[in-house]
């Protein structure tokens, strides 16, 4: 099974700033996903990130707000840009491997 780490584990940020979240996987994977879990809510897919191509964003999410990089098969970053308090959420990285989906521990973001 894939082991996923995320940095930072949590952060408190001021509105208008940006935060980049890193996701590292211990094995090479083709597809990586970024999810958001707003307080008391379910998980919502932000985008799918494939190495060597632009990320595919879900309805309601745009590249200018959530730019994603996927430089290789074990790493990805998600940036939350121009943050507002509504962006306060847990952001989770996920990978698909062997008919299973594995999740990172999440990054808990609070925007003041």
């Amino acid at each position: 099974s894939a082991v996923i780490s995320q940095k930072p584990s949590r952060d408190i940020c001021q509105r208008g700033t940006s935060l980049t979240i890193q996701c590292q996987v211990d094995s090479q994977v083709t597809m990586m996903f970024w999810y958001r879990q707003q307080p008391g809510q379910s998980l919502t897919l932000i985008a799918t990130a494939n190495q060597g191509s632009e990320a595919t964003y879900e309805s309601g999410f745009v590249i200018d707000k959530f730019p994603i990089s996927r430089p290789n098969l074990t790493f990805s970053t998600l940036t939350v840009s121009n943050m507002s308090p509504e962006d306060s959420s847990i952001y989770l990285c996920s990978v698909y491997q062997g008919n299973e989906q594995f999740f990172g521990p999440g990054t808990r973001l609070t925007v003041l």
Partner: protein
């Protein structure tokens, strides 16, 4: 588009009693179905999945789920609940062609001693 419904926001059960957490789904084609559990301040943990084969799937921590194609359901069950089972449970579905998961709204399970 694929979707998942968890009709109960919360389920309360006494320790030692059987528990059921309900899930229904909607997909085109055959579904891949999953249950995950989330404990406070911890990540999402995989419990079990249905891909194909036997409709009764056994997973971690004594949980099992029954796939019912005619009712498009995938209810999570456990014969005897533990207080430590208290957590947030998510049902999820994936269409074969689409690798990402669609999650239900979650059900909070509260097991009383």
């Amino acid at each position: 588009a694929q979707s998942v419904a968890q009709p109960e926001d919360q389920v309360n059960v006494a320790e030692g009693n059987p528990l059921t957490v309900k899930c229904t789904y909607s997909v085109s084609g055959n579904p891949y179905l999953f249950w995950y559990v989330q404990y406070p301040n911890r990540g999402l943990q995989f419990l079990l999945k249905y891909i194909t084969g036997d409709n009764l799937v056994k997973g971690s921590y004594g949980f099992e789920a029954e796939f019912n194609k005619s009712q498009t359901s995938f209810h999570l069950k456990k014969p005897s609940a533990l207080v430590s089972d208290s957590a947030l449970y998510f049902c999820a579905v994936r269409e074969i062609r689409r690798r990402a998961l669609t999650f239900g709204s979650g059900t909070r399970l509260q097991v009383q001693p």
